[in-house]
Amino acid sequence: MDYNRIFSHIYCENEAFNYTLANQIIEKMRGAKLIGIDHYKDVFNRTGQNFHVQKNSQKLILAVKKDSFFYEGSGLCHGIDGYRPLYASQVLNCIYDCEYCYLQGTYPSSNIVIFVNTHDFLNAVNDELAKGPVHLAISYDSDLFALENLHGLSKHWIDFSRGKDNLLIEIRTKNKNYEAISSLLPADSFLLSWTILPDTIIQKYENGTSSLEARLKSVKMAIADGWQVRLCIDPVIYTDEWKQIYKNFLQAVFEYIDKDKLHDVTLGAFRMPSDYFKRSRKSRLDSEILSYPYEVVNGICKYPSKLEHELINYIKDMAGITLNTI
């Protein structure tokens, strides 16, 4: 099929043209066709879109966020003791296409929205900090780092975090692009998290993400530069020969990475709110992961308890270190 290339079209809210970030992005994407819009939802929320077909030629939508700059963190994520979990979605959707991704059940479109009013996000977080320590996930509905060269948002958030003792910002990625921020001094309130899974799983179920080896190289460089680094073995996916696959994976990871230099390692088996899961399954009728007969407990779709425990306990045993589980 002859698709337009990614970001062949940029839809820009008329108001967003007033923001430097929007203009910088438009300048970087000079070959793209620019279409002015009143509100991002006029494009993003159209009925009748096909999330997966759009993945073949994702468009970029530049918008100005008016309210709800952050949300309370979900109980399905790993938190930090003593810190209130919040997440900010300055970018909606991701350039990757993981088979298990909950975004396919979250949004009506896979086009990427970037909210260009960064300062409004930062101000909103500042207000929250007055109420107590905050653990802020900034790449919750996206892989922010994957598009760092386009928007440079991580740099803004890193600078914002400096000197703030009651803030811990976490950016989570499957990208190898550490170089995009390697020139910056490490920030104490900033946690770089890499999601890692065995290469067999990456190749089978993730589309477009960096290889395990490339991610681990980034991890090593970041640690060497003095950053706080978290590894997330999440979501653990059940597959044929899973014991051997995860055993080899853990051996390779901890041979290469010094566990003592990590902030922590988190672990979680595949899980998804059941309403998101239903929509994801409906939209991806060729997915092995999404057609597995999960059980639903308290509105969460997850592996049958027996299997879930087996997966988690095996990996914990094999890793030989304390893992942060949900």
């Binding site: 698709y3 879109q49 077909v53 030629s57 009728l285 007969p293």
Partner: protein, 278 residues
């Protein structure tokens, strides 16, 4: 099926001839032509007529979510584009209601691209118009089309006929605008058709029939049917076939208990060793 909605017979004639479409008898004054792959309706001029024709063609012929729906016709160019140039509409505004529509721009093409505004009256002066092109149908067409089909199946293709200087367009000229571009238009239709037919379901219509048959012959509830369908999908992704169900195809349960037992048996068959619970 490709559905084409066109305003005038002289625009449609090159396509009717090329695809050897035959007129279908009907009671409206919107002539419908078709062959086994394409259905073309002539709406007449105006947004409401285009809307009505779209809905009429789809309901008269019957449609599936894998059909494409295309508005093809002539348009005026605000920015003095060359005559005969083909344009794909990326933004369509209804001048009267102010409503704006954004067609999916997934397909690569060699045409020009731009915004279009649909008016209720002929436009003979480009002053004050922000769009690149103007016509009298597209906004009516797309508003209706979106109620029936997925967005990626809907396209709006225009051929520039004038620069809004108010001249009368002769039928022969309009015919030639489409006729000269016939090959390019046909190749776009082909691509649009391929895009509409994308289907990621591993369960084929034969598989669906098989699962429906097993379910109905054995009085499975709706929920049992959906569980079965899903397990069958999981099994098929792993094994590439559903031959394992052949062993239960002739089962006929006589009561609820038998149904439940059979359902559990099929579940075990499909789950096999695959789901990690053994």
């Amino acid at each position: 099926m490709i559905f084409l909605v066109m305003a005038l017979y002289c625009e449609a004639e090159p396509l009717i001839r090329h695809f050897d479409m035959k007129r279908t008898k009907g009671k409206t004054n919107m002539p419908l032509f078709s062959n086994e792959k394409i259905c073309l309706i002539i709406s007449g001029t105006g947004m409401i007529r285009s809307s009505c024709a779209t809905a009429y063609a789809l309901s008269k012929k019957g449609y599936s979510k894998n059909d494409s729906l295309i508005n093809l016709g002539i348009c005026g160019s605000v920015n003095k584009k060359s005559m005969y140039e083909i344009a794909v509409c990326s933004k369509i505004k209804n001048h009267d209601s102010g409503k704006v529509f954004y067609p999916e721009m997934l397909l690569k093409h060699d045409f020009s691209e731009g915004s279009l505004e649909s008016f209720s009256r002929p436009v003979d002066n480009p002053e004050g118009i922000k769009a690149d092109f103007v016509d009298m149908e597209a906004a009516g067409f797309i508003e209706c089309a979106q109620m029936f089909l997925p967005l990626q199946n809907i396209h709006c293709l225009k051929v520039v006929s004038d620069n809004l200087e108010g001249q009368k367009l002769e039928k022969e000229y309009v015919f030639s605008l489409i006729n000269e571009n016939l090959n390019k238009i046909c190749s776009y239709l082909e691509k649009a058709n391929m895009l509409s037919r994308i289907n990621n379901d591993v369960i084929t219509s034969c598989d669906y029939n098989l699962i429906k048959k097993i379910s109905s012959s054995n009085h499975f509830t709706k929920s049992m049917y959906f569980q079965l369908l899903n397990l069958a999908r999981y099994y098929k992704i792993k094994h590439n076939n559903l031959d394992i169900l052949n062993s239960v195809i002739d089962c006929r349960c006589k009561n609820k208990l038998q149904s439940k037992q059979l359902f559990q048996k099929i579940k075990r068959l499909l789950e096999g060793m695959e789901i990690g619970l053994q």
